[in-house]
């Protein structure tokens, strides 16, 4: 009787302790996120105004000035990287999920995982040799290619995982109707995994939106605004980096404001897409 009671009490204490630790860990994880976003917000919002978004950079010493070129540049780069990276990543993920059972699948999966871990600076140098040198100039295109390469494995692997999660019963139902395999993949498996695929693409975009290092060797930056895909292009992370390492308070302030915008951009994209994908049916 007493031992039963002791065992019960010990188990209950252990349970409370473990639940408490889990809660604490969650608190730490979430509060770090909130601190980063909150600090950026507090520091950045003080210097944020309409001019900052709509105006171009002023020479040092002049008041005001904004990052219009950089915002446009980042949007162009992200769009370019998405156009190049998402379709390839999606198809690669579909291949891995549906046909990647054999040795080729293993190799492709390994390569994708290694690519995820390659430092982004290295990707920048790679694209510099592959695109910038042959073209003879830094360009938006090379920046887009570099970001697409970083994005590729993220999209491919999440797409694969999400497509694998589609239950075999739906695949069998489709095949038993006399639907060809490719059609089953496109019309049954992919829609079933759509939320996950979109989430994977978002993760990819979130990953590249703030990348700085690969752009140093590719997009370079451009004070005079967008001049075509074959010309250097400005980007928010590049400008944040340049302002942040400068010696001037006004530039530091602008770096904070730009950081805030970048965080918000990623946040807004994520929330919008979540909302869109959760609305189908129910």
């Amino acid at each position: 009787m007493t031992t039963d009671m002791q065992v019960y009490l010990r188990r209950r204490t252990t349970s409370y302790l473990m639940v408490g630790l889990c809660g604490l860990a969650t608190l730490v994880a979430v509060s770090i996120l909130l601190l980063v976003v909150g600090y950026t917000l507090v520091k950045g919002i003080a210097f944020l105004n309409l001019d900052f978004v709509t105006q171009t950079a002023q020479p040092l010493g002049e008041p005001g000035g904004g990052i219009r070129h950089e915002i446009i540049g980042t949007l162009v780069l992200v769009a370019l990287a998405s156009v190049l990276g998402i379709p390839v990543g999606l198809l690669a993920g579909a291949y891995l999920s549906e046909f990647g059972g054999g040795r080729t699948g293993l190799v492709v999966r390994l390569v994708a995982d290694v690519l995820t871990g390659v430092p982004s600076v290295v990707v920048g140098i790679f694209v510099y040799v592959l695109v910038v040198q042959p073209m003879g100039t830094f360009s938006a295109l090379s920046g887009g290619v570099a970001l697409a390469i970083i994005m590729l494995p993220v999209v491919a692997r999440t797409t694969e995982e999400m497509m694998r999660l589609v239950p075999a019963t739906y695949r069998e139902a489709a095949l038993a109707l006399g639907i060809p395999r490719w059609r089953m993949i496109v019309s049954v498996v992919m829609p079933g995994a759509m939320v996950g695929i979109v989430t994977g693409s978002m993760l990819g975009i979130a990953r590249i939106a703030g990348e700085t290092a690969p752009l140093i060797f590719t997009a370079l930056g451009n004070r005079f605004g967008f001049a075509g895909l074959g010309q250097p292009i400005a980007a928010m992370p590049l400008q944040i980096w340049r302002y942040a390492v400068s010696a001037y308070d006004t530039w530091h302030q602008q770096a904070w404001a730009a950081s805030f915008l970048l965080v918000m951009l990623v946040l807004v994209i994520s929330i919008t897409v979540r909302w869109l994908t959760s609305r189908r049916y129910h």
Partner: protein, 274 residues
Amino acid sequence: MVMQEERTMEPQTTPGPATRGIVVQKLNAWYGPLQALRDVSLTILPNRVTSVIGPSGCGKSTFIRCLNRMHEVVPGARVQGKVLLDGEDIYAPGVDPVRVRRRVGMVFQRPNPFPTMSVFDNVAAGLRLNGLRRPGQMSDAVERALQQAALWDEVKDKLKQSGSALSGGQQQRLCIARALAVQPEVLLMDEPCSALDPVATSRIEDLVRALKERYTIVIVTHNMQQAARVSDMTAFLLMGDDRAGELIEYGQTRQMFTNPRDERTEAYITGRFG
């Protein structure tokens, strides 16, 4: 007398039983190195309900999955033998399994309507994804299939809702409608009622009896009362010493349940094992 009855039941058509229906000859099936079926031979009659009974693991599901070439979808699975559908071997070289499956529909154990599609789209899926879209005729085809599956009255106002919003029994009838929409000749049902309550089960059984007018039906069931209630013919499978399923007895359901020829059939039917 029997001949007379046969003729009155199928007045309109057709060539003799030798060509229509399914003739299975020496069918063997494997999952990797494991043999799941050995030397199964039987003839499934057209416009009849044939039930396949036997204890778990005896190869019932494997057997019907061999009838529409779904067995080979499982990695490592292999088939040997002949399955003649209206006289034509579906395992002959050059036969596209996709075309076989259009003629031999299938309903699964658990209702599996496509979760991303509406009720309408689920039924239309087979036609649409086969590229058989005939503009304007789609809604007629969907209504016809839902009528045949005795589901139209319950869902005609919710055609745009998700298929997974229906009840379990309705979902299973939706799956039947989906299979019927492509107008197959044969309908295979793999324990279609095992996930359903008794009311929904009885509706599916009524449906099966009605559908044999137009289709040849093969139904796998764990429930011997169900086999006795719905089927004209019954096949009894049992696994041999190496766990490969073998056909023990095949015959008219009434005869098999009242006067089985094999003592193992009798033992199984009377509940002495299995």
